[in-house]
Amino acid sequence: MLEVRGINKSFGPVHVLRDVALTVRSGEVTALVGDNGAGKSTLVKCIGGIYPIDNGEILVDGKPVHIHSPRDAAGLGIEIVYQDLALCDNLDIVQNMFLGRERRRGIVLDEPSMEHLAEQTLASLSIRTVSSVRQAVASLSGGQRQTVAIAKAVLWNSRLVILDEPTAALGVAQTAQVLELVRRLADNGLAVVLISHNMNDVFAVSDRIAALYLGQMVAQVKTTEVTHAQVVELITSGKSGTIA
């Protein structure tokens, strides 16, 4: 669904991404792994329109696209769920899910239709942990917030959802819940990119693994064809003797 070819990105003298290529398919979870500073977040922000790319190509459905802002990305069906969530604590679930893209009736907000659609989206993802969509986000647990952030990304007929460390701050049960949700997104036909440090998470839900090492894409492999140890080797040294 999404293809990235030969992307370069520098911040001043620091060359963060070097000729990075990445292919993401619909219906699959692609795990993006790499050590701290490998360029995972930068790559994601380039795809999401937060950073402009220096050169290279981004293709959606085989067609070259130009993404200059988060709105461009959203227009192409690309949604990013950030590590720090980016929800407004004081707003409720509906208000957060529709923030920046509110539905209107005349000059006033169309609250009933937004509330209905938010409930529908949560139901379609089998999210039953929140009791009311009119709850303020501040009153939710970490796992619930993460599910709201993901549901927000799904609401917009998005086709590619990128999740930046969705389980980083979560307990065991909540992590399982969120991973289950991630799997469900792919099973619903979306393309999913999962950034994670946690090998257990990666092997639990991903179909493919893409490994970044010091700004270079060193491998893209099927999850079933590699072992824990090989992936760790890719992350820490950029190569693995046992992968061609």
Binding site: P70, A86, L87, C88, N90, L99, R101, A136, A138
Partner: protein, 328 residues
């Protein structure tokens, strides 16, 4: 959580309860004097101008900002209004004469003053990233200075705006009351029912989140400070209409009164939380206290003491609420 507990935890309801309590107490202490329709109409007229600026201040404070420049917005509104009147030759309108053209000229001048000071505040806060407390402290001093320069330090009186300040379009109801009510309703719709208000809450709650969903945070903040400026300028227009003169020295604590009203009404100075209805209640508490003290023969200065204490309690309750929420 039960419904009743939820209501008790809403700061607006607590303040409303306090207001009702104060009204009940004064009604018992001075029956037939305090609790008369005439007295309440008088009160409503007295708070009308403060209500108008407080509506604007509510928007500003919800973005986690503050507007200390309100007095200069009001005074410049007055000054621009009378200068506009002078330009169209309406300054010497006699009492009883009605020239609607003069009214609109003065209104235009006052709004222009408000827009100017609001634009400066907005640009300095949103784009130059100067903390709002200091940015608006700067425009407070500068604006008052400009007003004094334009007036050579003396006030100008005029009767041209009498039809606004002293008429009763609705029998028995002074005009300032419906005017303030229109501003309150407009503010309510804009803040609680429109996209603009939703984005205002979002920016006050988490500006980074707002930016990520594509809201132009800087431009929105500029608009919010423009609203603050325009309501101040409009209040200046109403002030000239009501007092038939500019009062360049007479508004120096209006900013603090507006912030007090907004905070009493449950709007959080940390941003992201607040309501127009709360502000409306917050405007009334100091006014009712003062009025009640006067009627009961208590020195009116006690009002300042009482309001100060009530304000501290209100903000403290807000803090408690936040802390318990963050724990929960």
């Amino acid at each position: 959580m039960t419904r009743a507990k939820e209501i008790l935890r809403t700061p607006t309801m607590v303040t409303f309860g306090a207001l009702l309590l104060i009204i009940a107490a004064f009604s018992i202490m001075a029956p037939g004097l305090f609790n008369t329709p005439g007295n309440f109409l008088q009160l409503a007229q007295n708070v009308a101008i403060l209500t108008v600026v407080s509506v604007g201040t509510t928007f500003v404070i919800i973005t986690a900002g503050v507007d200390l420049s309100i007095p200069s917005g009001i005074v410049l509104g007055e000054v621009f209004a009378v200068h506009a009147l002078e330009m169209v030759g309406g300054l010497d309108t006699q009492p009883g004469e009605v020239h609607i053209g003069y009214v609109f000229a003065a209104l235009g001048g006052a709004i222009l003053a408000g827009l100017s000071i609001g634009a400066i505040n907005g640009i300095v806060v949103a784009y130059m990233k100067v903390p709002p407390l200091l940015a608006t402290l700067g425009t407070l001093g500068a604006g008052l200075g400009v007003a004094l320069i334009l007036q050579n330090g003396v006030n100008t009186s005029t009767y041209a705006l009498d039809p606004i300040g002293h008429g009763s379009w609705i029998a028995g109801v002074p005009n300032l009351i419906p005017i303030a009510l229109i501003i309150v309703v407009a503010g309510y719709v804009l803040l609680h029912m429109a996209v603009f208000g939703r984005h205002t809450f979002a920016i006050g709650s988490n500006p980074e989140a707002a930016r990520r969903v594509g809201i132009n945070v800087e431009r929105h903040l500029l608009k919010v400070y423009l609203i603050g400026g325009v309501t101040a300028g409009f209040a200046g227009f109403l002030s000239v209409a009501y007092f038939s003169t500019t009062s360049i020295g007479g508004h120096s604590t209006d900013n603090l009164q507006a912030v007090t009203a907004v905070a009493l009404g449950g709007t959080s100075l940390f941003g992201g939380v607040g309501s127009i209805i709360g502000t409306l209640i917050g405007v009334w508490i100091p006014a009712v206290l003062k009025n009640g003290f006067v009627i009961n023969g208590v020195q009116p200065y006690w009002q300042d003491v009482a309001v100060g204490l009530v304000l501290i309690v209100a903000v403290w309750l807000d803090q408690l609420r936040r802390r318990s929420r963050n724990r929960g």
